[in-house]
Amino acid sequence: MSAFPQSVLPAKVPRPRRSSLRSWRWGDRIVYLLAWFSGLSLCLVAAALILYLGVRGIEYVSSSLLFSRPTAGVDQSQIGGILDPLLGTLLVVAIGIVIATPIGVASAVWIVEYGRGRAGRVLARAVESSIEVVAGTPDIVIALFALTLFQLGAFGFLSFTAQGGGVYGRSFMTAGAAVALLAIPPVFLATRDGLQSLPTHQREGAFALGKTRIATIRRVLLPGIRPNIGTGVTLGMGRIIGDTAIVFLLLGVGASQRFDFQGATPGLDALRGTGSTLTSYIYSTSPAGEGNAPQKAYAAAFVLLLMVLALNAFAGFVSGRGAGGRMSFGDRVRFGAWA
């Protein structure tokens, strides 16, 4: 086995003596302890949050709560479930991500693959700055802006119209369109970074086969960065799930808020109607809201936390961090169809 004869190897490899904290300078000691302290306290906060919500939440989460609809009543702690807010969250996430993904991916593709030349670079920088502005805007400001916008007559088809012709402006569709703005930056950034990390020879390989730019993007580049797009989409979904302000202004809030079916076509009218999500439900059932049923707020918060944690774990898997050693999930996504 070994190339050396046994006798040549020292019996025991001498290890460097462990440097004691006492030999350190004071500045180093303080920074070292501070770093440990900060890290540990963050872990503690996270653990406390999950434990507390888990203990309080599990107590109240039951199948009847999850699958029964909210009901109007004086004592919210006794009646009704969270089915509507749960479905509302899923619906808002679906609408938002369906709008955000194509926009985010397309603008990233444009920036990296087309934004060349002098005019292109100026425009590309303008787009990147705009995305940064959107990412930095507080969601309540986005909500206010969107509400003003969607109350214009031109957007009347997105929500219901009152008798006098005033557009209501609040519906699943308007809320979905507004939360899409939250999801665009992560999708855009993940796609852009993925495209920039692809080696030039992959593009040239396709060009050298006589492929057009668009065929190269569709068939070679985008499939190659599928894990990146997946990560961006998952992060964007997490941002939508957690958002409250936009839902508050554009969808509805209320412990007994149900899907609002009005009119003849049930599918479309549910989208044009109002409703609630888990976040707005938590607000209204918390002691600060009009519902004041903290048990249900804890249960809803626990469900929401589980959804966000699951999404974050999924994002970690997709980006390949989660599966050390073995084939990464990103590879599984990439090779999935053929492996």
Binding site: G205, A208, L209, G210, R219, G224, R334, W338, A339
Partner: protein, 308 residues
Amino acid sequence: MAFPEGTTRQMFKSQRLHDAAQEIPPVKRIVLDRPPTAVPPPVLDGDGSPRRRPAVAGPERLRLQGVSVSYAGKAAVKDVSLSVHQGEVLALIGPSGCGKTTLLRTLNRLTELTPGAMRGGSVLLDGNEVHELADTELRARVSMVFQQPNPFPMSVFDNVAFALREQSRKRPRRREIEPQVIEALRRAGLYEEVRDDLHRPALRLSGGQQQRLCIARAIALRPEVLLMDEPCSALDPRSTETIEQLIGELSRELAIVIVTHNLQQAHRVADRVAFMYLGDLVEHGEVEQVFRAPVAPRTRDYVKGVFG
């Protein structure tokens, strides 16, 4: 790995290596600060310059007339005139940075992807200026294999099928293009190794297999000219040998232009050799003539040692 077949192969190889070692002393490094001495390029007549194997060489495919390329005002290729015929292999040799790869990439207009690149002179494909063809059509007729194997992140089958698809408006079905895919893989000498699982990811193949897949992809559309940019420099000796044999077989039906740093390789695979230095085409001609009796002193310095 002690198969009888492999043993004879290795014996054969070591015998050849032995002969080569006796025949080919190491290449001498040339002095870089000496000014280049350009030899006027040979006059191109109607049927091209004299060739070693006139029986094999076919019609002229590419003709370069006074081609110059510059990047942001800096000349990379200066006034090169050459012709490339079907059925022969032209090797571009020369020290690093002499413009070989730039010249190669000019032939299928890949240089124009580099910002600030300018081209002068003319490149004619079957008598038509390449800038008047659509770039997609040109690159389907003049395809290219790169230094680094660059299969796409898809299955082996889809890598070749990708080259075939999307030339037509209607996307052909898998069954329709399967014979063409298999034919291309067979011509590239890869089919026997991947036939059991055409749908495995191409990125799982070995480097040599990946490079042959890239060759299969490049020849699937039956191009007239195949450009190869140091196709073996990232490969081990055995894969290199396989690909060199492949070049020999493909050269019967294609015109091949290969850039190589390896003079022995140029001697093994090429019919004609063009030696470039600092952007100038210093000398070009039949492989035996350039290696055995170079006219220009700079060529003599560079190829000195290929034959003792």
